[in-house]
């Protein structure tokens, strides 16, 4: 995992079909730009083998779940904005990242680039059992 980025894995059934999964993904995609620059997030749908592999690797128990730096932090709970930021701060690997996250704590979700960010994260694109 890169020192200058925070890795977030979102374990889902399918962020298109399942509304809860969709809003877990949106909680990452609606992070403000300054947070987008320091996080790497991806949807892992258990409709395909790669997703099942990630679910097993992270010791997932329920869907959907948000994992930060390999820890299952939000199992079947769609987080509040500040909760997400605080959990990322706890796992940030450098003081620089902590500082950037603290500065973004009062920003709140922003929706102007959600579609673009979801596309970047591959949301809904690997949710077939042959994908």
């Amino acid at each position: 995992m890169a020192e200058n980025k925070i890795t977030v894995d979102v374990l889902t059934l399918d962020s298109v079909q399942c509304a809860a999964c969709g809003y877990m993904m949106e909680s990452m995609a609606a992070m403000p730009q300054e947070v987008q620059e320091i996080i790497e997030y991806k949807e892992w749908s258990i409709k395909n083998k790669t997703g099942i592999g990630k679910f097993m690797e992270l010791k997932g128990k329920v869907l959907p779940s948000i994992c930060i730096e390999g820890d299952i932090v939000f199992p079947s709970i769609i987080p509040q904005y500040e909760e997400l930021i605080d959990e990322m701060i706890k796992r940030a690997k450098s003081p620089g990242l902590v500082e950037k996250l603290k500065l973004a704590r009062d920003k709140g979700f922003q929706f102007d680039k959600v579609t673009e960010n979801l596309k970047k994260a591959g949301a809904g694109l690997s949710t077939r059992n042959d994908s």
Binding site: S76, F111, V114
Partner: protein, 311 residues
């Protein structure tokens, strides 16, 4: 096929055997070789797929439609369409304003895709009746609709800006009631409130925001003499007692819950309950034998208020 047996089970009564409902959704499109986006926008294809699926799977009941974007779309949310899935909501008109400030109105039968759905029901209903199969109307529940309207911020607003959240949820509840009335007028035998994201919140939040905003819908269903249910997805353990005390005739859960646990909760509350064939592990991926999975569900569910269905 046995519509009355299904209604009895949904109302928590004993049945000779467990009735069966496939939540077929866009799988109906696959069965008639159509793309999901075409199927969901054509009354003829929708009716054809639903009736074909009901007959093929010998269903005791089948949803006319399983698409939780209908209500949101009918009040102004944009959609992204997919060829092999339901559409996803791509804009949130209440992301920075209340429904009133955004000028949102309660939908009528002329809004969004309601005219197509009405037409599909008109074609499908007599055919489903002839098959002795219940037609089910699935309404997007208030919290899921509120998420579509305001986006993921609603899960923060319920704590940080409860006044705003209450306004969005209240409007969502009113839309939910209107949608239930549409399905009742279409002739649905069962109307279920489907609120998948309601499993992703704490029980106190459920009591404050979900329970009150389901009441008008439940009353409308019951006043019409129709059977009600509440469908919830995911790990809903933390809110299951709230689900049991909502006031519906029953509820349905997904594959993530243990059917013995659910059965005991439902029996104690005198409610119907449904589930929970493993949609992903068994039906989609085949990692668990669908036959053995079905036997486990049927054995746990029994024949007192239980409906066999995917989870």
């Amino acid at each position: 096929m046995a519509k009355q047996m299904l209604i009895d089970a949904y109302r928590g009564k004993r049945t000779v055997s467990a009735p069966w409902v496939p939540y077929s959704g866009v799988h109906c499109a696959f069965l008639i070789n159509e793309k999901a986006n075409a199927f969901l926008q054509s009354p003829e294809l929708l009716a054809k797929g639903v009736v074909y699926t009901a007959e093929k799977y010998k269903a005791d009941g089948i949803p006319l439609l399983f698409d939780l974007s209908v209500e949101a779309n009918s009040v102004g949310c944009d959609l992204k369409w997919w060829e092999d899935n339901v559409p996803s909501v791509s804009s949130h008109p209440c992301s920075d304003k209340t429904p009133e400030e955004a000028g949102l109105k309660i939908p009528t039968l002329d809004s969004g895709r309601w005219p197509q759905i009405w037409q599909a029901a008109k074609i499908a209903k007599p055919k489903l009746d002839a098959l002795d199969c219940a037609m089910m109307g699935l309404v997007c529940g208030p919290l899921t609709l509120a998420s579509h309207l305001a986006g993921v911020r609603i899960f923060t607003d319920v704590y940080k800006h409860p006044d705003f959240a209450h306004k969005v949820l209240k409007f969502a509840g009113e839309v939910c009631e209107a949608a239930a009335k549409f399905y009742i007028d279409m002739g649905c035998d069962i109307v279920a409130i489907v609120d998948p994201v309601a499993s992703q919140i704490r029980d106190t939040t459920f009591r404050e925001f979900v329970t009150p905003n389901c009441q008008a819908t439940i009353k409308a269903i019951h006043d019409a003499g129709v059977t009600s249910s509440f469908f919830i997805c995911g790990d809903c353990t933390k809110v299951i007692d709230e689900v049991c005390s909502l006031g519906t005739h029953g509820f349905a859960i997904d594959e993530q819950l243990n059917m013995n646990f659910i059965r005991d909760k439902a029996l104690k509350a005198g409610l119907g309950f449904g589930g929970n064939l493993k949609l992903t592990l068994s039906l989609s991926l085949g990692l668990i034998s669908p036959r053995e999975d079905a036997i486990v569900s049927l054995a746990a569910g029994g024949s007192h208020g239980y409906t066999f269905a995917p989870g």
